[in-house]
């Protein structure tokens, strides 16, 4: 998949994403604990819009994919397809213990155990669930890494 922006990751990614990252949130079968904190992170007390953070109107407009859940086999397929639908430049943040390693569901026969089994993850935000501040912090760390050309 060779997007128009491929090969121009460095400067374009910074310009496009650094000051207005559009987030897409995908739940691969989580207990919803992380999901409600992702939701809370978008509300007035945390005011993510001051960083230019907004919810993308659709996957095809997304810059940053937030993944929650332990990633079951079927959800894994959907996750892969969702990631492929996002145009470059794109990045993934794994939110919560389950998205990092499968959490308490590690070893269950239907669970892949972590988002990076399916898509490349740039930032891992630990917690069960992580606080909204930590989630925003994870996204901001990603933006800093992008600025420094580390991803």
């Amino acid at each position: 998949m060779s997007a128009v922006l491929s090969g121009t990751r460095g400067l374009s990614a910074v310009r496009v994403i650094r000051y207005s990252p559009w987030l897409v949130h995908f739940n691969t079968g989580a207990c919803n604990g992380c999901d409600i904190e992702v939701l809370a992170a978008k509300t007035p007390l945390y005011d993510p819009e001051r960083f230019g953070i907004k919810l993308a109107p659709s996957v095809r407009h997304g810059d940053v994919l937030l993944v929650t859940g332990a990633v079951t086999k079927k959800a894994g397929e959907r996750l892969r397809r969702l990631y492929e639908q996002m145009p470059h430049p794109k990045f993934v943040v794994a939110i919560g213990a389950c998205a990092i390693s499968g959490g308490v569901f590690q070893g269950s026969y239907s669970v892949l155990g972590g988002a990076d089994k399916v898509v490349p993850v740039s930032v891992y935000v630990p917690g069960c669930p992580p606080r909204p501040e930590a989630i925003i912090d994870g996204v901001l760390k990603l933006l800093e890494m992008i600025s420094r050309g580390e991803v």
């Binding site: 079951t72 086999k73 079927k74 026969y109 239907s110």
Partner: protein
Amino acid sequence: MAALERLKSLGELLTARSSILPGRAVLEFKPDDVRRLFSGLIEALGPDGFFVSTISATDLPGEGKVRLDYFVVLLPEEETLVFRTYLPRDKPVIQSVSDLVPGALPGECEAYDLLGVVFEGNAQLKRGFLAPEDAVKLDEYPLRKDSRV
């Protein structure tokens, strides 16, 4: 228990009585009588006089049986009774009651897909209602004690 008094008419269908914690009456019936039992409940209590809260299937390979429990809540007291029956493990078949009591539908579908109990007459039974694709392909019922998942 006041609620049980109203079920006197079902007396002949109930073959044994015991209890589970905390003090919930367990009323055993024969699998063939399941529809008579639920029709009897509707007649004795009215269609809005009870609801099926939970249906639970338990694999008992040591006894060669599958135990099927219908947890029914009587209204208005909101008292829970357990209607219990045993099915042969190699052929766990019983008639569906989901046409009489639509609330039984989810529990029947779940017991079928996860443990292999066949509820005859329930057109919505299907493999994969809950179990993952690989279990379905292997013809495995995940909650059976000898399941290979």
